[in-house]
Amino acid sequence: MELIPSILFLQSILAATWRMATPILYAAVGEVFSEKAGVINIGLEGVMLIGAFSAYSVAFESGSLWLGLLAAILAGILSGLIFAFFTITIKANQIVVGAAFNMIGMGITGFLYRSMYSVSAVPLGLKTFQSVEIPFLSSIPFFGEVLFKHNIMVYGTLLVVPLATFVLYKTAFGLSIRAVGEHPKAADTVGVNVFRMRYLSVMIGTALAAVGGAFLVLAYADQFVEGVVSGRGFIALAVVVFGRWKPWGAFWSSLLFGIFYALQLRIQTMPDVNIPYQFLQALPYLATLLVLVGFNKRRVQAPKTLGVPYK
């Protein structure tokens, strides 16, 4: 008799896992590009917020979720361009600029949201991306629920991760990116434009981070809230390290966060659990970090010039 409820419990947790992992995964895959090229962007959190707000406001005003997503990507690219200008052209310290991006992202989205929407009498919700049930597969018991009833942005991760792997490991562009992060001068001496490669990698990174932020308003909650990203950008940074700077590594690591997040959501809804919700909310962050730190004893090679400006 106990068996059926616990399977349902597991099913609901696992079904939520992938969805919870999705925003982190987009940001982490983007950061893999950036860090492979030798630029560490700790401003992911800020960029995700900018992405989330851009997506929300454009989707809300235009009524199109796709336009919202496009707006997020453009905002992400623009953020990347600014980040790259400071860190690559001006050679400012990458950590400092990243920290500034987090502050600015928080401030600017909070300010714009309040000035644009806080006094509105109109309902501010969006009609989010709905679940797409894959024919036949979604009716498989257990697995149908866990794997085949998600919205388009969740499925999108299955496109982004292999694509990122292909670009990084099977194209001349990817080869240049990897070289530029390890030994930029070597790349320079054979005619690779180090600055261009780093700019592009940073912009790919912030575009994907913005998509991760957009997910939160277009496909998860239906509305922008100040600080909606709530630390996922920082988790994404840890996920990149734990995933050994590889897109598939980032995929599995973000699922880890997802599972803890789903778990705490479930526990919150249990009637007889008396843990303050603040503790539960902190659980996925704490658990992910502990696991990441605990499992990180293996020697991982970060790109050798990570954080070091060229020339």
Binding site: T171, A172, L175, R178, A179, A186, T189, G191, R299
Partner: protein, 517 residues
């Protein structure tokens, strides 16, 4: 168009660089009007001391630096080079002193890096790998294109660098001090190989500061000093002494007049020393040796075979395990290792800028870096500036260090004078045991001469000296006995007889002493 054509349209000339000036921010003038003319199919040596401007000149040709002024003519046309891509497209290849290889990538990936448009899909590298295999067969540069660069030895990495340049297509090949990282045999093979390439019509510019190499390999040689061309001569019409004089600007005493060794008692003795490197891998393995009074023991070896770890462990700067270490009849425990200097050891570290000196400090502050807390330099916790200054001035005089004022920041001194400060400080403590690592790396001939004489004087004064050096000439010139180090082990002991240089080379490459003798 007319004025951009070279003056003498000599068909033999493949490259002419005229009045090249290049300075760097901070007012360093690396090239101050350099002229160079290279003939088609010759091996042309660029000879000069460190800092003479050889590498900078070639980096200008390769598009890495933009010259302040001057012009380049290549294959009878004005050559405007903006970046390395221009150089590669014009069939100029360069093998840099510090390899330009990405360690985490494979040999093949390194070779094709930068060769394709970004969107080119590199799904199948087989054709590239085949071509590299064919080339490595043709040129007899044995290397596996699928292995990762980080798994290759230094010699193999150099082969990859040469293959890379040839794969890109080169009519003019520049090599920057290529033998610095090789064993004598590897160097010999490389020089033979370059000769074959030149015979096939390739033009080679060979940067070096080693006179024997110039004599052995080159057709002509251009000497640079202080960023200027001194002259270009036919190698056949010159000799090492003349070259040295042109390179340094004065006569050089190359003999040390070393006295016969007078063996005394054991001063320093090590049994079974083991040291792990930063990655936790064994770097020094069961190392045992004795150093006697009035003796220099030289540790020869290719760089990276555990020499740094050996020196750091003996200086107490790196964790180690050992059965026993005895200094001057005192048995040293692990805990004592950090205070060996108080027991009569002095240490001249391999990297003066990182370990030997505090660069933002003044010359006199560096002199008292170890003794500032002792009388007479400090009384009741106050530094005695007058005493310190007098002491510093006396050292500057004694070791003929070229410095205006002892309060000057040491970062402003030349490498040779910086090294003299380290040597002066360490030797003035009259050590019983002196640990010296790479004492003349990167300093000019004059300072080298001086430092070596000081080491010999110290030996004759009774000290036991352990000399670690990757410079074989230095090892042979200074040592009374030579231990050869390979992958953290002693491969054998040889006497510093010049006839033994080949054996030392074999030991350096990891051959056992039985097979080497």
């Amino acid at each position: 168009m007319e004025d951009s054509m070279p003056k003498n349209n000599d068909p033999k000339t493949i490259l002419r660089m005229e009045e090249i000036h290049k300075s760097f921010p901070g007012g360093v003038f690396a090239n101050r009007g350099v002229n160079l003319e290279v003939h088609q199919g010759e091996i042309h040596c660029l000879l000069g001391e460190n800092g003479a401007g050889k590498t900078v000149l070639m980096s200008v040709l390769y598009g890495l630096y933009k010259p302040d002024s001057g012009s380049i003519f290549y294959k009878n046309e004005k050559f405007d080079v903006h970046n390395p891509k221009d150089a590669i497209q014009n069939r100029i290849g360069m093998v840099h002193q510090h390899f330009m290889l990405v360690e985490t990538l494979s040999v093949a990936e390194n070779i094709i890096l930068g060769q394709y448009k970004p969107w080119k899909v590199l799904n199948n590298l087989d054709p590239v790998i085949k071509k590299i295999q064919q080339m490595s067969k043709d040129y007899r540069l044995n290397v596996d294109p699928t292995s990762l660069v980080k798994d290759l030895s230094v010699g193999e990495q150099q082969r990859v660098e040469i293959l890379k340049a040839l794969y890109h297509g080169a009519d003019l090949l520049i090599l920057d001090e290529p033998t610095a990282v090789l064993t004598p045999q590897e160097s010999e093979n490389l020089l033979d190989f370059l000769r074959q390439l030149a015979d096939k019509g390739l033009t080679i510019v060979f940067i070096t500061h080693k006179l024997e190499e110039v004599m052995q390999i080159s057709d002509r040689v251009t000497i640079l000093r202080d960023g200027k061309t001194i002259t270009t001569v036919n190698t056949k019409e010159t000799n090492p002494r003349e070259l040295a004089k042109m390179m340094v600007g004065r006569d050089v005493l190359m003999d040390l007049n070393k006295k016969e060794k007078q063996p005394g008692k054991v001063i320093f003795s090590v049994k079974n020393l083991n040291v792990k490197d930063e990655r936790g891998l064994p770097a020094v393995k069961n190392f045992s040796f004795d150093v006697y009074e009035r003796e220099v023991v030289g540790i020869a070896g290719v760089s990276g075979n555990g020499q740094s770890e050996l020196a750091l462990a003996l200086a107490g700067l790196m964790d180690s395990d050992f059965d026993s270490i005895i200094l001057n009849d005192i048995s040293i425990t692990k805990r004592d290792l950090t205070r060996l200097n108080q027991l009569g050891m002095a240490h001249i570290p391999e990297d003066r800028q990182k370990m030997g000196l505090i660069l933002p400090f003044s010359v006199s502050e560096n002199f008292i870096a170890e003794t500032f807390n002792d009388r007479p330099f400090s009384k009741y916790g106050f530094l005695q500036f007058k005493t310190i200054k007098n002491y510093s001035q006396s050292l500057v005089k004694k070791f003929s260090i070229r410095v205006g004022d002892v309060d000057e920041e040491i970062a402003h001194l030349s490498g040779g004078n910086q090294q003299k400060v380290v040597v002066a400080r360490e030797l003035d403590r009259r050590p019983k045991f002196l640990l010296v690592n790479q004492p003349t790396r990167g300093i000019d001939i004059g300072a080298t001469e001086f430092v070596r004489q000081q080491i010999i004087a110290e030996r004759d004064g009774g000290a036991a000296i352990l000399l670690i050096s990757t410079d074989l000439e230095e090892i042979f010139a200074l040592s009374d006995r030579i231990l050869v180090m390979f992958e953290g082990q002693i491969m054998g002991e040889v006497s510093p007889n010049p006839d033994m240089i080949e054996q030392v080379g074999l030991l350096m490459a990891g051959k056992t002493i039985e097979s080497a003798l």
